[in-house]
């Protein structure tokens, strides 16, 4: 049985924030915090970069707008032009509506997919699910896992470090 890492269980979000900050200060990089609801300041404490979701949404929305406009321009301006009382074929004011709708549609789908892909979901199995009591992460408990893949990971030293943070319990995560 190989070891995925060590897990510490905390009572509240303040303790988790403190633990995440300490782990980072201690030089750990491959660690993960788990919590039942978003915790303000956790991303900074863990040293996460700005979420890429925003960029994905902007990019997809622009693509959607371009497709929306070009679709209409091609269909009604080039492929099957209909002269309606001499009005311009490129009647952009009315084209805005579908351009806008497709921008929203592409942006929205991108937002959803980007959240999943950047979070590594769907992922039915993960080692932390092996930890007894971890199911309370979606109720009222907070956890910090330091992975064995971290360069500074040493079973003894890391365990002592985690115990120094005042957790309820420290246990091993089987892989």
């Amino acid at each position: 049985m190989s070891l995925h890492g060590l897990i510490a269980e905390f009572e509240n979000s303040e303790e988790l924030l403190h633990a995440a900050r300490s782990a980072r200060a201690e030089g750990y990089r491959r660690f993960e915090a788990y919590c039942p609801e978003p915790v303000e300041g956790l991303a900074e404490a863990m040293g996460l970069k700005d979420s890429g979701v925003a960029f994905a949404v902007l990019f997809a929305a622009l693509i959607g707008a371009a497709i929306g406009y070009m679709l209409q321009y091609y269909a009604l301006g080039l492929d099957y032009p209909i002269n309606t009382g001499g009005r311009p074929l490129n009647s952009w004011p009315i084209f805005i509506v579908i351009t806008f709708e497709l921008a929203i549609l592409f942006g929205g789908i991108a937002a959803f997919l980007a959240v999943l892909i950047l979070s590594g979901l769907p992922r039915p199995y993960h080692p932390v699910f092996n930890v007894p009591g971890f199911e309370r992460v979606s109720r009222d408990r907070f956890f910090l896992v330091i992975e064995s893949a971290d360069e500074r990971f040493d079973e003894e030293r890391t365990r002592r470090f985690l115990l120094s943070l005042g957790p309820r319990e420290v246990s091993e995560v089987a892989d």
Binding site: E32, I94, P124, S138
Partner: protein, 460 residues
């Protein structure tokens, strides 16, 4: 501990969440409805009744597809009857859900956290009902895909300058975004249900929908950004959708439809009727499932106030519509207004005004806003009035236009009414399933509210 200032606030406002909840107990209170509570007799009875109505709905659709739209009351000159009335009514009801979930989120109205989940469900189901009607109205409903632009052997394209094609894009985008927004909000709660499950089946069933959500810091980091952006996208979308619906009318040269006030007037009417539906759903839900601590009197009061505010905007729309007709001094505009007031459908016109302008004013009284039964009845009355309003706008403009020789009358047939009642049945059938199998209040946002309430209590 300093005294809280009380000026200008004679009666203290109820809290957004009962003070005795902890993160654990709020989780249990919501998840046990889905995981542990057995089916109750009222639920089963309601499910049986709505199932029957849905069967009737399917039969009505079957006959319609087999025989044709001639079974409805529509003909020339009134070619848009119940189907378009129902379409506008249902899509409008959906809009309040998006308003609650997206716009109130962006405005940091935290009380919305208790009601956004079932308001979003309401949106998804209402848009489902709405989208059926234009398709059924096509006549040859099985050729609906001709509305979608794709390279085809006929070398034809949809006419993108037509508001009816704009509708296709607006409604399908709205449905997709509403569904994604709803599901994204549900993922952490599905994880909660998976972890709290009492049987293997529940764990696997909810585990599939949770997709392996673990509540990791990285998950929440991306999740919050994605949720916020979806809310930001849904906000202009909801305004655009009903504006597009309204230009189905405003594009026509028909007096009574051809008016630039229509987009904002329709958006306000949509949100108004939608809030009435939220109230209709909230009051029985919190009674039957004992959710008084999560959906407090504060929520009911706030929703009643929003109902009043949007209703007053609608009233302004009515007055401006009439004023514009009079001020234009245009013979046909004036006649349409006169015909609405005194013609064969005058009773509908005056009933709509009596309710949406007159009865609405009862909401100024706090005792009405806090009295559940009267508020419930009022919300039903307002929804009926809003259905009649769309009926009045469509029928009175169509049945007497420019030439008296082309005038006609409209009356709904049995099949028309069957589809109105059937779609209401479908809506509640879906909603009943939702209440039993999906957490009807956002669990993780409930936990957030508990933490916020605790922090505020600590500060005080």
């Amino acid at each position: 501990m300093p005294e809280r200032p009380t000026t200008g606030q004679l009666v203290p406002r109820p809290p957004v969440i009962a003070p005795d909840y902890t993160p654990g107990s709020v989780t249990d209170a919501i998840s046990e409805i889905v995981l542990k509570k057995p089916h109750t007799v009222p639920w089963l009875a309601a499910f049986a009744v709505t199932s029957l109505v849905v069967l009737g709905f399917l039969a009505g659709i079957g006959v319609l597809l087999f025989v044709g739209v001639g079974i409805w009351g529509i003909n020339i000159p009134v070619a848009w009857g119940f189907a378009i009335t129902n379409f506008v009514w249902w899509i409008g009801i959906g809009h309040a859900g998006t308003l609650i979930s997206a716009i109130l989120l962006l405005l940091h109205q935290e009380w919305r956290n208790s009601i956004n989940r079932f308001a979003e469900a309401m949106t998804v189901f209402a848009v489902t009902c709405a989208a059926l009607f234009p398709l059924l109205h096509l006549g040859r409903a099985w050729l609906f895909y001709w509305l979608i632009p794709y390279p085809n052997l006929m070398s034809l394209w949809p006419q993108f300058r037509s508001p009816l094609v704009l509708d296709v894009f607006a409604i399908s985008t709205y449905f997709t975004i509403s569904l994604l927004f709803w599901y994204l909000g549900l993922i952490p709660d599905f994880a909660t249900l998976r972890d709290q499950a009492t049987s293997r089946f529940q764990r696997i069933f909810y585990g599939i929908f949770a997709m392996g959500w673990r509540g990791a810091g990285r998950h929440w980091h991306h999740y919050q950004m994605g949720y916020l952006l979806l809310a930001g996208l849904a906000t202009p979308l909801v305004v655009s959708v009903h504006s597009v619906v309204s230009i189905d009318f405003a594009y026509a040269l028909l007096p009574g439809w051809h008016s630039s006030i229509f987009p904002p007037y329709f958006v306000a009417g949509a949100i108004y009727s939608g809030f009435a539906m939220v109230i209709t759903l909230t009051i029985p839900l919190r009674k039957f499932y004992g959710l008084d601590g999560l959906v407090t009197d504060r929520h009911i009061d706030n929703m009643a106030k929003l109902l009043l505010a949007t209703g007053l905007v609608v009233d302004y729309g009515y007055l401006m519509e009439m004023f514009t007709a009079w001020y234009s001094a245009e013979r046909y505009e004036m006649f349409t207004l006169y015909n609405r007031m005194t013609g064969p459908y005058a009773a509908v016109f005056w009933l709509v005004l009596a309710i949406n302008i007159g009865v609405l004013q009862l909401l100024w009284i706090r005792r009405v806003r806090r009295h559940l039964l009267s508020l419930f009845v009022l919300s039903l009355v307002i929804q009926s009035a809003m259905w009649l309003e769309r009926y009045m706008i469509i029928i009175t403009a169509l049945h007497r236009d420019f030439l008296p020789r082309s005038w006609g009358m409209f009356a709904g047939t049995f099949w028309d009414w069957l589809l109105v009642i059937g779609s209401i049945g479908l809506f509640f059938w879906l909603f009943l399933l939702f209440v039993r199998y999906i957490p009807m209040i956002s669990i993780f946002e409930g936990r957030e509210m508990v933490h916020k309430a605790a922090r505020e209590a600590g500060v005080r």
